[in-house]
């Protein structure tokens, strides 16, 4: 990785680690200052990383997650397939429909059941609405990280509309526990479709205003454009996912490449950008929100008028011996569950692979060589939610 900083340094101070990062050697250690960012810091959340700075440049970064490691994977082994749902959605409570989506898909494969068509549509609608809720919260925090308070207030306000819709659908504000193996918990209420279309229409109007006040704001552009470049090849090597990957010019979206449930009937474009910088990483989720409105509209249109929304399971269902690996596209990228079953009613092993945990690998890569002031815009553009990464 070359940048202005490493060019300015003498080569005797530099060395390349086996990860391909160029770091400053011990010899110049006295020039460096070590800073600890987080876990109590307005710009880090429940996460800590140590950085070393040389003047204004970051020369070393070591992430230290785990402040919210609650042992979800171990807890799964002690609860049966249905009891696992409430605690599995806690890692991202503002995206809880998506995180239980792939769990349900995997368990359905193990139990050998198929979801009724109407149930599949309702699932997809709930997951699209929840994606908006997540992305709006993320955008609000990104706004306040960069000192743009309007961008905190607007998305958190508009987010409540989608929360209202989801509350009408599921009965809870954020923790829905809506997707269950076999379908969804209940049917949509009366008048939901009209209300949903109305809100989406309003929201699309608001998105234009967001673009004007935030994305076209010269200050925001200066702080994010050409900052934290993640070239295409690096993005592939580091295995990042979601908006970070799409911002590096790879149109990879699980909804498109491996459509689950009804997504193969929906006509939508995968949004991606080729500039590879923080601006692209901040703009791709915004484009996704717009596309998501479009998807929701199509889903509402194509949904069968009546029918079952779930299959009845016997209580305490037993999975067949084997394993399942399922993934969905969440707000933060591919979210996959690997479940091993030994034939009993509890999973033998559950491995959750989340977008946040994969994206954080890019953080040292991007921070080393950039300026300290760019840290907030690089860090939060990675679409990182610490609670989910720690599980």
């Amino acid at each position: 990785m070359t940048n202005k900083y490493s060019e300015s340094l003498d080569s005797k101070f530099k060395e390349t680690t086996n990860l391909g990062l160029e770091v400053v050697k011990e010899a110049s250690e006295d020039r460096l200052m070590k800073l600890s960012v987080g876990p109590q810091h307005p710009g880090s959340g429940h996460f800590r990383f140590t950085i070393k700075v040389d003047g204004d440049y970051i020369v070393y970064c070591d992430p230290d997650p785990g402040y919210v490691h609650r042992g979800e994977e171990k807890m799964c082994e002690y609860r049966n397939y249905i009891q696992n749902i409430p605690h599995l959605e806690r890692p991202v409570i503002h995206d809880s429909t998506n995180i239980t989506y792939s769990y349900s898909l995997a368990v359905e494969e193990l139990l050998g059941i198929e979801v009724p068509r109407r149930g599949q549509f309702i699932r997809a609608i709930a997951s699209e609405l929840n994606r908006q809720v997540y992305t709006l919260y993320w955008l609000a925090i990104y706004g306040i990280f960069l000192g743009h308070s309007t961008m905190f207030m607007w998305p958190t306000g508009d987010r409540e509309l989608f929360i209202d819709l989801l509350a009408a659908l599921t009965g809870a504000r954020v923790t829905h526990a809506f997707n269950i193996p076999g379908g969804v918990r209940n049917d949509i209420p009366e008048g939901f479709k009209e209300k949903c279309l109305e809100y989406i229409k309003y929201f699309e109007k608001r998105l234009k205003e967001y673009e004007d006040i935030f994305y076209n704001n010269p200050l925001f552009r200066q702080r994010t454009e050409n900052v934290g470049i993640l070239p295409k090849q690096d993005a592939i090597d580091l295995g990042v996912t979601g908006s970070v990957l799409r911002a590096s010019g790879i149109p990879h979206d699980v909804r498109k490449v491996e459509p689950y449930d009804v997504y193969n009937e929906i006509d939508f474009k995968v949004q991606y950008m080729k500039t590879c910088d923080s601006f692209a990483r901040a703009y791709v989720p915004f484009l996704d929100m717009r596309e998501s409105c479009n998807i929701t509209r199509q889903l509402l249109e194509k949904m069968p008028e009546s029918g079952e929304v779930r299959v009845k399971l016997q209580s305490n269902p037993k999975g067949r011996i084997g394993e399942a690996y399922k993934r969905v596209e969440s707000g933060r990228g591919a979210l996959s569950y690997y479940i091993v079953s030994d034939g009993s009613s509890k999973p033998y092993r559950v491995k959750i692979s989340v977008g946040s945990f994969r994206n954080i690998l890019a953080l040292p890569h991007l921070l080393v060589g950039s300026r300290l002031g760019d840290m907030p815009s690089i860090y939060w553009a990675l679409n990182y939610w610490p609670v989910e990464a720690d599980r």
Binding site: M153, T156, E160
Partner: protein, 173 residues
């Protein structure tokens, strides 16, 4: 009790300040106590310390719909040395616990603690996890418990108002 003569020594300056302030607080408590507490309750500054998923609802509490600022709870963006309220937003893991105590110790007196969410009260959903503390009252003293998983923003606002009530009735420190 030190003698007045010792206190005037410059080496003991901080002692002198504390003694004088004790006397002053004693004298002010009766006539001005109410006024000082009144000033405190309308400017509670929370620390920006997120511990788990309840922080999403804490964020929603400062959103335009709930707007807890109208009750004197300001959005959490200050430095912790200027803060007097710490809202523990959910699960405290064994890794976070020493940091939580460290943050609490660094805050200036008087300081108040709100335990938000089932996790910070008893461990909640994660009571049998290997890495979660069963409640935070073992590490820091709690003033108000706000139950829920996560508590709705209204619940948190009510918890804050209970805290204000509590401050109003206590002696000034």
């Amino acid at each position: 009790m030190l003698m007045i003569k010792d206190l005037i020594n410059p080496a003991n300056f901080n002692l002198l300040v504390s003694q004088v302030s004790d006397v002053l607080v004693g004298a002010l408590d009766q006539p001005l106590g109410y006024a000082i507490n009144w000033g405190r309750i309308w400017s509670l500054w929370p620390v920006h310390l997120e511990t788990a998923c309840c922080s999403v609802e804490f964020g929603a509490t400062s959103s335009p719909r709930y707007d807890c600022e109208r009750f004197g709870i300001i959005e959490a963006f200050g430095s912790l040395r200027q803060c007097d309220l710490i809202v523990v937003q959910g699960t405290v893991t064994r890794k976070m616990a020493p940091r939580l105590r460290m943050v609490y110790d660094q805050m200036a007196d008087p300081k108040y603690v709100i335990a938000m969410g089932a996790c910070s009260i008893t461990g909640g959903l994660y009571i049998d996890s290997y890495n979660v503390l069963p409640g935070i009252d073992g590490i820091i003293p709690v003033d108000v418990y706000v139950p829920g998983c996560p508590p709705r923003p209204e619940t948190l606002i009510q918890g804050c108002m209970l805290l204000q009530e509590k401050i109003k009735r206590s002696k000034i420190k």
